[in-house]
Each structure stands twice: as structure tokens, then as C-alpha cells.
Symmetry: C2
Subunit: 450 residues, 2 copies
């Protein structure tokens, strides 16, 4: 065929870091996202979506180095024109997390929000990483945060943790462990140390690596690079080793936290104890105090969290992290707005489960029933029956191609549609593909098995 | 306070074309998207999501001029480095619709899909338009398409139309009218005309403007610019004037379609008649045959649709459009893959309804109940009661700040949370904020009013 011969074919390749799933995998992803959303809403958190882009200045206003992994947008037209017409417009960058957009949104809509403002957000974020195995450049995050004016009750620190724990526990991913700390404990201790304030972040960064590089290497960093004395370095390591169950916290914390003269440290211990107490209703082992948790980001000021999948050792790192911040939106509005929040790194979690064959099997079709007739004259009956079932909440796919038996049977089997509904001049029959049972059916009363 | 004085505030501005909603508006948007999704699934269409980006080559492979409204991505890092390291990578562009990504996805996953492949897709798309009132640069589209190998039954042309009609009818937007045509009618007629083949698209483009510029202007274009003779131009205008109810179609179509010697034209009339017949179950006035509908895009080859909101005259243009194409994925795979599909321009529809105050009132919180105690010692009881209710599917927000009566009352009222649940040493009481009724309640049995 000359038409086909003429055709230029461009064979598309997968784009590194931009994951896409087959329908049956997407069905599982959608189901997980639905479950997380339902959990967030069950606690009364409202949803927002922010634009996919921020002005570069907004990101820069956070005061940190502008992240180098940011994707900026260019209009192809502007490039083609090569004119300066667009230069006056602010440059737009795809958001790389949901925290900066949330802070900006709160500042911008301050007068139209009710505080404490409790929101969840489940969008894609983008990071312009170099292509590399396992590195994602587009992924879903599922965030919840509470933000309030001037003061935010500590009870929210426990609430957001409980919500995320429950959200993860509702997925089929085995045991989940929430590891909680409070930065005030370490920061309070560091206040007492003979150490430049500038070096505090370096100490936190060293502790952050505790699990990865081990006690000896951390000690080396503290003493050789940060110039701590031996006693102080030992105490820091003692902190990092502190892992207590919620039950043991009050009786054993003093073994790890020696100094009790610093009020910030004391506040931290008290806050951590209260948060653990409020999480006591979660299952045994669901929550531990772990003073090695510090989180890399500067803005956390109190409670910090990480979450480990105990039954998925392949997933190193935290699946869900966050903490309390004193003043998140301060770059955008002259108000004091403390908050606390957690983010589930959804796509990374999902993809690890997928790669290790730990996802449940998903359906290729949401249909409960495949409807079929061999008699074209009955297509009106087919349409009406399908409508009756749909109105009753049963998803019905109609198989339009009139072909021999095996074809539509194979189609239903391929798509894992559980029932075939036959319309014929003799009436309606339903076949259960799992059991092979077949019988007459009335569209007004028939129900699929649960 | 010196800290505050030091603080640099960057006041963020809205970004033109990137809409964002307050929580109560987003709640309505989410509800609408849920309804559309449920409708799509009720017909057995599976969901897919594609990456937000495509390689520029993939877009270019479609053979049309690369769209100038495309946003291309640049890594900020690459710009900073100013090195050529990234040059080897394909350039990435944000997708500007869901049709190109769908075609590419089908080609790429061909061996893992079951055909006919029926999918829906509800994602954001981006167009790098110049900032201008009403122009959106980021918006949701809700698409359904069916694609098959070699042949696709005409029944799907009616099915996708019915689904989109029902999806729109399930929203609170008044009467919806689906306008259907079949391009074969016009193309068949044009085959008989004494006209260069190259000019056929120009004729379609002229008809497309029929409603906007009127009969006289269209005649002028046909005769002066396209060089048609008077008789042919009159027939074209006669086509464009043809608007028939499904009921009248067979009896009256011959008044508009004079020539019956062309087989393509005859096929078109027959197909259009069958599609209308299959849509006869929809309410009176829901569907009309309208031969002025041609759709601008080249790839449509048969049925074409547009949809009008009859009760929202502010919304000019079509809220939901699509058609049948002979070979959509032909640029990416050497198979013959005909398809039919429709796309709802969701955000545009939503925003017009919003701007005209025609949205239903949305809730600021998904909570059914605000739970509250004045006695901090009872916070364990509060937590347990809230958990009991949540496990029963009731969304519960806990008000943690212990403040005087008016505060939490005002909070519930602001967020339109319908019930306040009081926990005290005397037991549990629930207040219905709409009626003012208050009474004792058992968390194991209590239900909110529907």
C-alpha cells in the first residue's frame, strides 16, 4: 500500500524520569490515591490545587539558593520570534514541591481563608534531575498541612502524623513505622555547646546521615570537621542512638538526654512526649521516638517525622516526612503563621512496590459486566438494559462487535471483567466468569457478588 | 520586632492564565470531576495518565506545523552551567492536549493493551498563550476515546457522545445540546464540485465560521476567495443551514442534501442517521444533526460533535467536542488504528459558570462534624469518639483550641460544618447548626441528616 509506505513513523521512546503506567497499574494507583484522599477528608482537611507553576521570584523569595533542579518554561513561539516581547513577563517555573505553593497560596488568599487552615494537596511536582535510574522528574506528592495565625496547638503535630500513618496503613504495603523527634532537643543541647551558631546546621546534617554512614563516621565529622569536643560529640551520638517506644519514652528518655538545664531542650522533650501520648492509640510499634530524625530542611523548628516501611526493605529512605515550622509563609506576608505538615512521596512509594511485584493486581477495566448480543436487532434492548444497570451503580461495557463466541469471551477475560450478560430473543442470561455459573437475570434486581 | 523588620516580603501576584480556586470552589470542581469520572467508568472506560511532557519530536511527528503555543522546559541548572551537556537529551514540551499523548501511548504500549481500547483521561494541559483576559494557559480536559485495530464499530460514535452528554447533564449547568454531523457528507459533495482538492479544507474552515460571521460573509468567502460557482456555494450554505432533530432526520435530510450520486456523501448520511438513532433515548432536544459542525482539525474523517450550553449564553463556543478519525496513531506505529473520541474543556466550562455566579455553593471543609470539648482531660475521649465516627464514614474535624463558646461556633459556621459534637463529663451532645436542635448522641449509631 503506497499510503503506508509513504508514512513517516516516529517511534516514541519512554522519557527517563516521567513514569507512565498501563491501565491495570493506573487502576491501583487511582485506588491508592482515592484511599489517601478519603483519609485526609475524614479528618476534615479541605483540598486545594495550586497552579503547576510559580514565578521564579516566589521560589527565590524563600531566601535559600534557588534550587537548581527547577524546570523553567519557555514559550516556543517566543523562541521562534526571538523577540524581547516576553521579557517583561515574570519567568515561570514548574513547582518542585507543594510547600512553597501552599505558603504562597495562604499569603495570597489570607483574607478569604478560615484559620486554622487545614488543607490537603495531591498534585504532580517536577524536578529537573539529570536522567538516572530511579530518579523521578515527575511524581505525585500527597501533602497535608495545618497553618494558623500566631499559635497552633501541638495537638495538630500528632493529628497530621496519625492521618498519614492511617493513610499508609490503608494501602497494601505491610507494616509502617512513624519515627518522630523534636528538633528543640538537639537545638537546645547545641545552645549549651561551645560551638558557633553557624555550625548547628552542620551538626544536624551529620546526624541525618547517622543510619547511612554509622556512628564512627558521624563522630569523625563532629570532631574533625565541626570541631566539637569529645564529650559533646558523644552526647550528640547518644541522641542519635535514642530510639524509644511511645510506652518507654517517659521512663527512659533521661538515659539519652542528660542535660536538663536548657529550657528549649526541656520544651522539646515535653512536646515529643505529648505527641507520642496522642499517638498511643495506634498499633504497637507504629510510632517510635527517634532522635536521629532531624530532616534536612532549615525551616523545621519542632516536631519532625519520617516514616519507614518495615516490610519493604527495598525502600530505603522515608516514604512520608515533615514537621513543624514556625513561620512558613513569612516570605510572602507580614504575619506570623506557624504550621505543621507531612508529605507522602507517593509515586516513589508506588513505583518501588510495583518494581518489587508487591502491587495488588489491578483491573484493566472498571466494568463489572460485559454486555453482548448476537442479534443486531436487539441493540435497543442492550442499550436499555445497560442503562438500567448503570443507574443502579453497576459499570457496564457493551461489546459491539458481533463476532463468534470466543472473541468477546476472550475480551472479557483479558480485561478481567467478572460477568458477561447475554441479551437474546429468549431473554437475559448472566455468566459468572470466575465460577462458570450461568443463569437468568433481571436488570432491575441483579447484583454482582462482592 | 527586629526580626520582622528584617524580613523581606515578596508579595505574590496571580499568574495570568493559571487559575486557582478557594477551597469552597475547589470542592465544587472536585465534585464535578468525580461525577464525570464516575460516568466514564460506568461505561467501562479505563483511566490512564500520561506524562505531562512529550518529546518535541513526538509532537512534530504529527506532521502539522509544530504548535507555537507549546511550552518547552529548560533545566535551570543547565542554564546556569551554560554547558552543552544537556543538548544530547531530547527537548521536552508540556502537552497541549490529550490526543497526541493518547496516540503516542497507544503506539508505545500496543502489545500490552486490549482492543478496542477504551480510555478516559482527566489531566491538566498547557498552552503558552500570551496573557489575555479569558485565555487559559493551564486547564483540565476530560477526554474519552476508543481506538481499535483496522475497524471500529459505528456504535462507539454514539456511545462516546452519549457518555459526554450524560456527564455534562449530571452537572448543574442547565440544558445541554449535542450537535452532530458527519464530515463525509460535505467531503463527498466537495468531491463532486469543480474545485481543487487543496481548497476543501478552506471550505470547511469557512463553514466553521457560519454561526459567527453569518451566511453573507460565508458566501463571499466561498465565491470570492475559494472561487466556487454560485450553485455550489448555495449548496454549501444549504448544508450549513441544516439543523434537524433526531426525529426529523430521515424525513427531512433530503431537503438539505440534494446530491445523491456520491457514495461518500451517502455513507455520511447513513452514518449520521444511525448515530442519531442510537442517541434517541436521550431527552427531547438533547441531540441535533447540524451540518455546520465541521471541527477545524484535519484528522477527523466521519462523525464530528460540538456541544452547546443552552442555558448559559455567556458560554459561546463548544464545551465538549470531538469526532471520528481514521488513523490517529499512524505517525508512531505502522498499524491502522481508527478511533473516535470527545473532549470536555473542563476548566473553561467551570470558570464560565463560576464567573457568572452559577456554581452551587461549595463547602470549605469536607467535615460533617466539628468535635469539641472544654475539658482538656477528655481529649482521649474526643479522639476515640472521632475515630468511631470516621470508621463509620463520617468526616470529623476536631477543634483543638480551648476558647470561649463563640470561637468554635463561629469556626463551624464559617466552614459550613453542619454539626457540632460536644464531649463533656456529662456525656455527648450534638448540635445541628441549621435547625439549632441539640440532643444526646451515641457515636456508634448517630447519623447526619442527608
Amino acid at each position: 500500500m503506497s499510503e503506508k509506505a509513504k508514512k513517516q513513523i516516529y517511534k516514541p521512546r519512554p522519557i527517563s524520569g516521567f513514569p507512565e503506567w498501563l491501565p491495570e497499574v493506573r487502576a491501583v494507583e487511582q485506588n491508592w490515591l482515592d484511599k489517601i484522599r478519603a483519609k485526609f477528608e475524614s479528618y476534615g482537611y479541605c483540598n486545594i490545587e495550586t497552579a503547576s507553576v510559580e514565578e521564579l521570584e516566589v521560589i527565590a523569595a524563600k531566601g535559600e539558593d534557588v534550587d537548581k533542579e527547577i524546570y523553567v518554561l519557555e514559550r516556543l513561539q517566543a523562541e521562534m520570534d526571538n523577540n524581547g516581547g516576553d521579557k517583561k513577563e515574570a519567568r515561570l517555573a514548574l513547582h518542585f514541591d507543594q510547600t512553597v505553593p501552599f505558603a504562597r497560596y495562604v499569603a495570597q488568599n489570607f483574607n478569604n481563608l478560615t484559620f486554622p487552615f487545614k488543607r490537603y494537596q495531591m498534585q504532580k511536582v517536577w524536578r529537573g534531575e539529570r536522567p538516572q535510574v530511579g530518579r523521578m522528574r515527575e511524581f505525585y506528592q500527597c501533602d497535608i498541612d495545618v497553618i494558623n495565625v500566631d499559635n497552633l496547638p501541638l495537638a495538630f503535630d500528632a493529628e497530621v502524623a496519625a492521618i498519614c500513618y492511617e493513610a499508609l496503613a490503608s494501602l497494601d504495603i505491610g507494616r509502617v513505622q512513624l519515627r518522630v523527634s523534636n528538633r528543640k532537643i538537639l537545638l537546645g543541647y547545641l545552645d549549651e555547646c561551645d560551638l558557633d551558631y553557624d555550625l548547628h546546621q552542620d551538626v544536624l546534617r551529620a546526624i541525618d546521615k547517622f543510619e547511612k554512614i554509622g556512628k564512627g563516621e558521624v563522630r569523625k565529622i563532629l570532631i574533625d570537621e565541626i570541631d566539637m569536643n569529645d564529650i559533646e560529640a558523644e552526647q550528640i551520638i547518644r541522641f542519635a542512638e535514642c530510639k524509644l517506644s511511645a510506652k518507654d519514652f517517659y521512663s527512659k528518655i533521661s538515659e539519652y538526654v542528660g542535660l536538663e538545664t536548657n529550657s528549649l531542650l526541656q520544651d522539646g522533650v515535653e512536646e515529643l512526649g505529648k505527641v507520642l501520648q496522642q499517638l498511643a492509640h495506634l498499633p504497637e510499634g507504629a510510632v517510635v521516638a527517634d532522635l536521629s530524625i532531624v530532616r534536612g530542611l532549615d525551616y523545621y523548628t519542632g516536631t519532625v517525622y519520617e516514616t519507614q516501611l518495615l516490610d519493604v526493605p527495598e525502600f530505603t529512605g522515608s516514604v512520608c516526612s515533615g514537621g513543624r515550622y514556625d513561620d512558613l509563609a513569612g516570605s510572602y506576608i507580614n504575619k506570623h503563621l506557624p504550621g505543621v505538615g507531612i508529605s507522602i512521596g507517593f509515586t516513589r512509594l508506588f513505583d518501588v512496590m510495583r518494581q518489587h511485584g508487591k502491587l495488588p493486581e489491578g483491573a484493566k477495566s472498571p466494568a463489572h459486566v460485559l454486555m453482548y448480543t448476537e442479534d443486531k436487532a436487539l441493540s435497543g434492548d442492550v442499550a436499555k438494559t445497560a442503562q438500567t444497570l448503570r443507574a443502579r451503580g453497576i459499570n457496564v461495557e457493551v461489546y459491539y462487535t458481533v463476532k463468534k463466541w470466543e472473541k468477546h469471551f476472550k475480551y472479557a477475560d483479558n480485561k478481567k471483567i467478572p460477568y458477561i450478560w447475554y441479551v437474546s430473543a429468549d431473554g437475559h442470561k448472566v455468566k459468572d466468569l470466575a465460577t462458570g455459573d450461568q443463569g437468568e437475570a433481571d436488570p432491575n434486581t441483579w447484583e454482582p457478588a462482592k
